[in-house]
């Protein structure tokens, strides 16, 4: 395309200048070679191994839960396979007491944040008890309305700032979610008060079926941070070390009183949007195959094996252990008491108004029969 004549306002050069400022950061390439040593996070060998263990756990979780769903043992499931680095390396960079606001796809990081596995399964299955968290657990249950978690995160972060807590708030959204008004309201509000928030955009390529390119004219999603006057960076979402480093630095930056940071992770969802979705309707298999070559496990496995920190036996051990954890959690879930309407009614208000009091009596009467 020939360049248009530049008038008094050079619109093209303005947007190009902005967009060229958002390179995708990487530490490890697809084969596990260190391509940017300056960005290598300060992790001990034990921590590197622990991070890899979590990624393997995440992959096993996704595979097992997918099967359990197909067997009808769990309710609907939004698969996270492919996004393990994006979800679990970002959570791994958080500190004690940091607050997490996940979406319906982010149950794995919520479990790593401290929620018992059984509760994740209760949530999929449709039990209120899946969302009952102890007071000290710094997290919200999985958010279903895309964008709501961003504005709530802005509120929790402002609260942390007012309490002078030495903690950050982290929340996730997908690429489609960045088109929502609440996305902008959330990052703008957090920026306006310099609140300690980390906004993660997991760009997995699709909002159900709609490709990322149809969501916006913006070349990157990270650049949307500019509109709120906050930093935004783009990292390789299949590279756990780049993600860890980005979140760690964003955390330090926020805790130093500089305000929020937006991080876009370039990742891919291997499976369907949910178990009732069929990706063959909107994407070719070869795209999936290309992304599988960039898998986080391949590069971390190579990187750690070369350092003498990882082996096939070790990986199998983690897989078997995860399967055992899942089996046990499913068994525990099976012991859950059936839910009662009267119990739901009692959770509506602290002091029940007349309509609720009346209905509690009616339902308790029926439930005794």
């Amino acid at each position: 395309m020939t360049k248009k004549k530049v008038g008094a306002f050079d619109f093209d050069s303005q947007i190009n200048t902005i967009e060229n400022n958002f390179p995708m950061y990487q530490v490890l390439d697809e084969d596990g070679n260190v391509v940017n040593a300056d960005l290598m996070p300060d992790l001990t060998d034990d921590q590197l191994v622990e991070l890899m263990e979590r990624l393997v756990w995440g992959r096993t979780y996704d595979q097992r839960v997918t099967i359990l769903n197909r067997q009808g043992q769990l309710g609907n499931y939004a698969p996270s396979g492919g996004q393990e680095a994006s979800q679990l390396a970002s959570q791994y960079a958080l500190g004690e007491g940091d607050y997490l606001l996940p979406t319906y796809r982010d149950l794995p990081p919520l479990v790593q944040h401290g929620m018992p596995l059984k509760q994740a399964f209760l949530w999929y299955k449709g039990y209120m008890s899946g969302n009952v968290f102890p007071h000290e657990f710094a997290a919200m249950p999985a958010q279903v309305i895309i964008g709501a978690q961003y504005i709530q995160a802005a509120g929790v972060a402002l609260g942390f700032k007012k309490r002078n807590r030495n903690n950050v708030v982290m929340t996730y959204i997908g690429d489609g979610g960045t088109s929502q008004g609440d996305f902008y309201e959330g990052i703008n509000f957090a920026g306006a008060y310099n609140s300690p928030a980390i906004f993660i955009v997991q760009n997995n390529g699709y909002g159900i079926s709609t490709p990322r390119a149809k969501q916006t004219k913006a070349k990157t999603l990270a650049q949307k941070a500019v509109s709120a006057g906050i930093p935004g960076i783009q990292v390789d979402g299949m590279d756990p070390l780049a993600i860890y480093r980005a979140v760690k630095e964003a955390r330090d930056y926020a805790l130093a009183g500089n305000g929020p940071v937006l991080i876009e992770t370039i990742t891919f969802r291997y499976g369907p949007h949910t178990m009732s979705d069929d990706p063959k309707r909107y994407r070719e298999n070869k795209i999936l195959e290309e992304w599988e070559k960039r898998d986080c496990l391949i590069r971390m496995r190579n990187f750690l094996t070369a350092k003498g920190l990882w082996s096939e036996e070790k990986e199998n051990e983690i897989i078997e252990d995860t399967k055992a954890q899942i089996k046990q959690a499913i068994e525990e879930m099976g012991k859950e008491e059936p839910q009662k309407i009267s119990m739901f009614l009692k959770k509506m208000y602290e002091e029940a108004p007349q309509n609720v009091q009346e209905q509690i009596k009616i339902y308790e009467g029926k439930e005794r029969l």
Binding site: M128, S129, N131, V132, F133, P134, H135, M140, P141, I145, G147, A148, Y150, I151, Q152, A153, A154, G155, V156, A157, L158, G159, F160, K162, R163, V169, G181, D182, E185, G186, N188, F189, A192, F344, K346, K347, M348, Y349, E350, E351, P353, Q354, N355, V356
Partner: protein
Amino acid sequence: MAQKTMVQAITDALSLEMERDENVLIFGEDIGMNGGVFRATEGLQEKFGEERVFDTPLAESVIVGASVGLGLAGFRPVPEIQFFGFAFEAMDAIMGQLSRIRYRMGGERFAPVTIRSPYGGGVHTPELHSDSLEGIVAQSPGLRVVIPSNPYDAKGLLISSIRSNDPVIFLEHLKLYRSFRQEVPDGAYTVPLDKAAITREGSDVTVIAYGAMVQESVKAAESLEKQDISVEVIDLRTVAPVDMETIIESVKKTGRVVAVQEAQRQAGVMGSVMSEIAERIFLYLEAPVSRVTAPDTVFPFGQAEEVWLPDAEDIEEKVKEVIDF
């Protein structure tokens, strides 16, 4: 005790609760230095500082969404939506999120948020400043919708709302802000939530109203008294969920009901109140359960408000219809 307008009583309530509980935060558009567009938060920033009384970006969804977050972080947020017509921008935050927090977390966590917002016709505002949207939020289980009709109740109900650990949508009728004064005690006191008031006792017909329609109903009742018709006026105060006990007791006595709301016939909360009456005490009724409402059009442009809004004359006419049935 002093004679106070409703807006002064509201400022009073806010100031007292700020003093009482350091977790109370007040925020919204232009509520800080400017004291809010109706001066409801006048002087509060000066008194309590910018950490606790602060202006927000012009963004209703995050004002409510952040209130949920602040509530979960241990605060007691009292955000203002500048006009309730702007609440459409915050509908997920209010109805999809705030209303459900306690339930979806199994009763273990809650967001004690009181959203204050002006609404109501008669003052010639631009579009979407005066609409009666209480019926929309009233349909959300988990919320309380509170609408005071006078300065005394406004102060006591607002204090109860702020102290409640459940979310409250507290709607302040624009025309009532400064239209009359009433004796309002200086200190803190509460008026109970979920409890209607018998504003005026009577024996022939029960008129149920809320907000600015309470005054119109009392005016109608006074005129009807001269015609030997005794009208009992009930002020709902909490318009959702409704205090049916008080209504049922009154209607058992009178046998006749006129439900009055400023909202359109298809909106508001009276449709539900009427069906509850019909279902619960059908055999006590001497006439059809009737209503006075605005017509089912969009809220009118300023100059048409007088002909559009229901008033004492409409109520009087409907009461006579019910008496003569």
